[in-house]
Symmetry: D3
Subunit: 126 residues, 6 copies
C-alpha cells in the first residue's frame, strides 16, 4: 500500500475510527477496487490536501450532500466526521439549516432529520 493510501487512511480514520476497514469490507463483494479509490483519491488526494482545514472541508461536504439530497447514508457519515474534525453540534446544524436558502426547505428538513439521527436530540432543546 503506497503513500496515497496511507495519507487517505489517516484522514478517513481520523474522521471516523475504523472507517477504512469498513469501506474495504463494504465494497469487497461488489467492487473491491472502489475502496482503493475512495481511500487513496477521495480521502488522500483531495480531503488530505493542505490549503483548507479538515474542519472546513467537512462544512463543504455536509453542505453539498444536504443540497444534493441524494445520498442520505453518506450525509450521515459526514455529519459524524464533522464532529471528529472539530465542528460543534451547533455549527453542523447551522450548515444544514442554511441550505434552506440555497437548495430549498425540503433539502434542509431532510438534512436536519439526518442530523437528528446522528447527533441525537439536544438535552433541554425540546
Amino acid at each position: 500500500m503506497d503513500e496515497r493510501w496511507q495519507r487517505g487512511r489517516a484522514v478517513a480514520d481520523r474522521l471516523d475510527p475504523g472507517q477504512t476497514e469498513r469501506i474495504v469490507a463494504g465494497l469487497a463483494g461488489i467492487a473491491p477496487d472502489m475502496a482503493r479509490h475512495a481511500i487513496a483519491f477521495a480521502f488522500g488526494d483531495i480531503l488530505g490536501r493542505p490549503g483548507l482545514a479538515l474542519r472546513d472541508r467537512q462544512i463543504a461536504t455536509i453542505a453539498a450532500l444536504t443540497a444534493l439530497g441524494t445520498a442520505g447514508p453518506q450525509l450521515r457519515l459526514h455529519i459524524k466526521g464533522g464532529l471528529a474534525a472539530g465542528l460543534s453540534r451547533d455549527e453542523i446544524v447551522e450548515v444544514i439549516l442554511q441550505m434552506a436558502v440555497y437548495a430549498g426547505f425540503p433539502a434542509a428538513l431532510e438534512g436536519l432529520a439526518a442530523a437528528r439521527e446522528v447527533l441525537g436530540e439536544a438535552p433541554g432543546e425540546a
Copy 2:
C-alpha cells in the same frame, strides 16, 4: 408570536390541521428556530401571498418536489395539502404523471408511488 407567524400558521393548518404543532415538535430537539422559518417564511411570507390561489400553489409544489425527486416525506405532505387546498385526487395524479415529460419516467413513477401511499388506490380502478 407575530403577524408573519399567525399568517403562516393559518396556511399550514389549512393544508394539514395540526401541521404547525407537528413541525414545531419535529424540530424541537435539533433546530427549533427552523420551525419558525418554516412557518413564518415558507407558509406565511410565500405560500400566504396573494396573487396565486393556494390550490394553484399546491400544483407548483407537487410538481417541483416530484421533479426534484429528493424529498419523499415532503412530497407526501404536500399531496395531502393539495387535497385540502381543493385539488381533486385526479388533478394531483395528473400533475405527477405530467412530470414524466419534464423530469423523466422514474421521477413520475416514484411520485405516483408516493401518491398511492397518501391517496390509496381508487375503488374500481384496478
Copy 3:
C-alpha cells in the same frame, strides 16, 4: 400524421403559435424523430390529457423547470406558453418566486431572470 400528432400539434400551437413547425425545423438536422415524440407524446399524450386544465399544467411545468434549473430555453418557452394558456403575468411570477421555498433562492432568482426576459419589466413596477 395520426391522431396523437394532431392532438399534440393543437396543444403545442395553442401554447405558442407555430411551435410545431419550429420544433420540427429545430430537430430536422440532428434527430428528426424526436420532433414526432415531442409533439405526439409530450404535447399529445400528456399535456393534451383531460383531467387537468392546460393552465394548471403550465403551472406544473414552470414550477418543475424552475426547480430543476437545468433547461433555461425550455423554461422561457413555457413561460410564454403559460400566458397563452391563461395564466396572468403575476401568477407566473408567483409560481417562480415560490420555488425559493422548494428549490432555493438561486433557482428562483434564475427563474425570475428568465421571466423578465420573456415578460419584460412591468410598467411602473420599478
Copy 4:
C-alpha cells in the same frame, strides 16, 4: 392493443420477463394510463428504436439513474435488465463505478449498494 404497445411489451419483457404485467398491476390503482405510456412510449418508441443495441441502451440508463441518484427502485430494475440485455456483472459494476467521476463518489457508492442488492456478492470477491 396496437403496434407501439406490442413492440414495447416485447422490449419490457425481454429485459425482465413479466415486467409488462407488473407495471400494469402496479399502476392500476393510481394511474392506469401511465402503464400504457411506460410500455408504448418508453419501451416501445424509445428503447425499441433501432440505431443503438439494447445492451448499449442499458449502459446509458444505468449510468443516468446512478448519476441522478433519485430513483433507487428504477435503478435496481435496470441493473437486472442490463444482465438480460447481455451486459456482464463486471460491465454493470464498471458503469456504476465510473459515475464517481461524473456525478461524485456518493452517487457511485449508492449505485454500488443497489448493484450488490441485485447482483449479490461475487463468490471469492470478498
Copy 5:
C-alpha cells in the same frame, strides 16, 4: 424597513458593498417583493444567524452552489462574497476542487471556471 431588513442589509453589503441596492434594482421590474425576502430572510434570518461564522457560511454556500451546478451567476457572487468574508483565494479554490469528490469532476471544473472569472489567474501560477 424593520430589523430583519437592517440585519440582512448589513450582511449583504458586507459580502459585497452595494449588493442590497443591486438586488432591489435587479428585481424591481419583475418581482419587487423578492428583494425583501432575499435581504430579510436569506441574508438577515439565515446568513445573519449566530452559531456559525460568516466565513464558514460562505464555504457552505460555495460548496452547495458548485455541487448543484445550476446557478452560475449566484456562484460567482458568492465567490466574491467568500473573499469579503475572509476566505483566501486558495481556500475558495480548495472548496470548489473538493466538489470533484462529492458532485463529480464536471461540477468542479465548471466551478473552477467561475472562480477564474471572479478571482482572475494567479500571477506565476501558469
Copy 6:
C-alpha cells in the same frame, strides 16, 4: 510523471488529441493540481480500467451528463470523445434522445442542441 498519469494521458489524448495539454493549460492559472487529478484519476484510474470498452464508457458519460444537465462544455467534449472511441453519430444521438425517458424532454433537447453544435447537421437530414 508516473504510471497513472501516463495511462490517463493516453486515454485523454485518444478521446481528443491534445486534450491533456489543453486541460493542463486551462487549469494552470486557477488550480494546477486539478489537471493532475483529472488526468491521473478520471482518465487513468477510472476510464482506463479494463472491464468495459472505452466506447461503452463514452455511452455512460454522455448519458450521465445529458441527464444531469449541468455541464454543457463537458458534454460537448465527451460527444467528441464518443466519436473518437468508436461511437457513430447515430449512436450518440440515440443515447441523448433516450434521456427523454429517464431525465425528461428538456434534458434530452438540451443534449441534442449540444450534439448539433459538435456533430453538425447531417447532410440530407433536414
